[in-house]
């Protein structure tokens, strides 16, 4: 087994300090950054105020680093205080954008939409959510538990009860399935 070699030096981009699981919130001006920092720190988030990477510099010389996986929860916290970031990007590669391709599969009586790693399937006639699959963050089973068995009208919206990027991907799939039906 190759396990015991796991501490061997890796490529530089993969060093343990590379912030692969961190994201950056970019704001219009410094006062917005300070407001966001106060809101997030007071609600217990582990964040860091930093200079934005050159690729996304827009004039404001401060940004906030945060745990990227929890993007949906962070955004909801900021929105409650009417703070809207200009951009949200991964630290590891600031030019990356969220997935915007949907895969739609028609099963006849049922329709499935996939966005990134998340899939939602509804019964066309009743608009009942019959299955949610894919994903790897712990809010996926939670979202499935809350949404499966309800119509797309009755169901809670992933944006409101999800917390992670998987929840965000499900929100996109959900919006697409609503649009299609």
């Amino acid at each position: 087994m190759s396990f015991w070699g796991f501490l061997k030096p890796k490529k530089e981009k993969k060093s343990l300090e590379s912030g692969q699981d961190r994201g950056i919130l970019v704001f219009e001006n410094t006062s917005e950054v300070i407001r966001a920092e106060n809101v997030l720190r007071s609600t217990g988030w582990k964040i860091r105020v930093m200079g934005p990477p050159p690729e996304i510099r827009t004039g404001c010389d401060l940004a906030i680093e945060f745990p990227l996986i929890e993007e949906l929860n962070i955004l909801r916290t900021l929105n409650k205080s009417e703070i809207e970031p200009l951009q949200i990007v991964p630290v590891s590669s600031p030019l990356l954008k969220p997935v915007d391709l949907f895969h739609v599969k028609d099963f006849g009586l049922y329709l499935m939409v996939r966005a990134a790693n998340m899939k939602i399937t509804i019964e066309k006639k009743t608009r009942l959510i019959v299955n949610i699959s894919g994903g790897g963050c712990p809010d996926v089973p939670y979202l499935a538990q809350a949404m499966v068995g309800k119509t797309i009208i009755e169901s809670p919206v992933p944006r409101e009860i999800g917390h992670t990027l998987c929840g965000y991907a499900l929100q996109l799939a959900y919006e697409e399935v609503v649009r299609q039906c």
């Binding site: 087994m1 190759s2 396990f3 015991w4 070699g5 796991f6 890796k10 490529k11 981009k13 993969k14 343990l16 590379s18 692969q20 699981d21 745990p67 990227l68 996986i69 929890e70 929860n73 991964p90 590891s92 590669s93 990356l96 969220p98 997935v99 915007d100 391709l101 895969h103 599969k105 099963f107 009586l109 049922y110 499935m112 996939r114 990134a116 790693n117 899939k119 399937t121 019964e123 019959v130 299955n131 699959s133 894919g134 790897g136 963050c137 712990p138 809010d139 996926v140 089973p141 939670y142 499935a144 538990q145 999800g162 917390h163 992670t164 990027l165 998987c166 929840g167 965000y168 991907a169």
Partner: protein
């Protein structure tokens, strides 16, 4: 012995460890009962069902409640760093945990303390963290679906949500994505890619594909990937070589799906209940 590490979608669920008992559609751990219909509990139930047929019983679990806030996962990560060193399992499967690179690395250090190195299997959030950490090659098996394979293949993406568009998540691109994942050291020693066809691969490329029986509906059913990971984990823990276990597990999961006569509305618990019959038919050729 097989160890399974994961979460249940209930914020009030405390950290529990120990043996599991499958009864009807729930698993019992200590005095807690958990429905097997999704997530890590579906994986555990599939492993228990597999052990019923192959004659093994020893599964220990480390579970905690987490609904995506990460609080439970981090408590569990901390517990693992303190206790995994005393674990004597021959296989460990890490599943739905909040991806956290720092904690992932600490857990990997704790695994190093184990006297006998176990087979390391990662799926779901822990697989995301393993890839992000740059330590994917420390694992023996990843079990991604096609969307997750694209994420492994994209050396820049920190999560499947940010997989770049040119890395198309389509069945016919699987071979090149497997190659790309290995090229950038973002795959485990073996990959079991779950999809319309299941692909068994290592750094030399695709070693086998399993494409029958095929039930289109399976793609829509939440938890069918979890059951596959549960079956393969149990087979590996029971002593089967990893490559043989992957092939058998893929065939069993497909047949269990077919035996459940699935529609896109089928729930995974109905498939889990068909695992013993499917395993018996395939292993004992009945």
């Amino acid at each position: 012995m097989l160890t399974i590490v994961g979460t249940v979608p209930d914020n009030d669920f405390p950290l529990v460890t120990g043996d599991v008992l499958l009864k009807g559609d729930t698993i019992g751990i200590q005095d807690k009962q958990i429905p097997i219909n999704r997530g890590t509990s579906a994986l555990i139930a599939a492993a228990v069902k597999t052990f019923e047929v192959v004659g093994k019983k020893e599964i220990t679990v480390y579970l905690i409640g987490d609904i995506g806030l990460g609080t439970g996962s981090r408590k569990l990560y901390e517990y693992l760093t303190e206790h995994l060193g005393q674990n004597d399992s021959n296989a460990i499967t890490f599943h739905y945990l909040q991806p956290d690179v720092d904690w992932h690395n600490r857990v990997l250090f704790a695994v190093k303390e184990m006297i006998i190195p176990p087979v390391l299997i990662a799926d779901a959030g822990f697989m995301y963290a393993a890839k992000m950490s740059g330590q994917a090659m420390a694992y023996d098996l990843f079990t991604p679906d096609i969307g997750e394979l694209a994420f492994l293949a994209d050396e820049e993406a920190p999560h499947p949500f940010y997989t770049r568009g040119f890395i198309l998540q389509e069945e016919n691109r699987v071979p090149e994505q497997i190659a790309r994942a290995y090229e950038h050291d973002n795959a485990a020693r073996y990959l079991l890619v779950k999809g319309k066809k299941d692909y068994i691969a290592d750094k030399h490329g695709i070693q086998a594909t399993i494409d029958s029986p095929v039930e289109d509906s399976m793609e829509a059913i939440g938890g069918t990937g979890d059951t596959l990971t549960g079956i393969v984990s149990a087979l590996i823990a029971s002593g089967l070589a990893i490559n043989n276990a992957m092939i058998t597990a893929a065939r069993v999961n497909r047949l269990a799906g077919q035996l459940a006569s699935p529609t896109p509305a089928t729930q995974v618990k109905d498939i889990i209940n068909c695992i013993p019959e499917a395993l018996d038919k395939i292993v004992n050729k009945k």
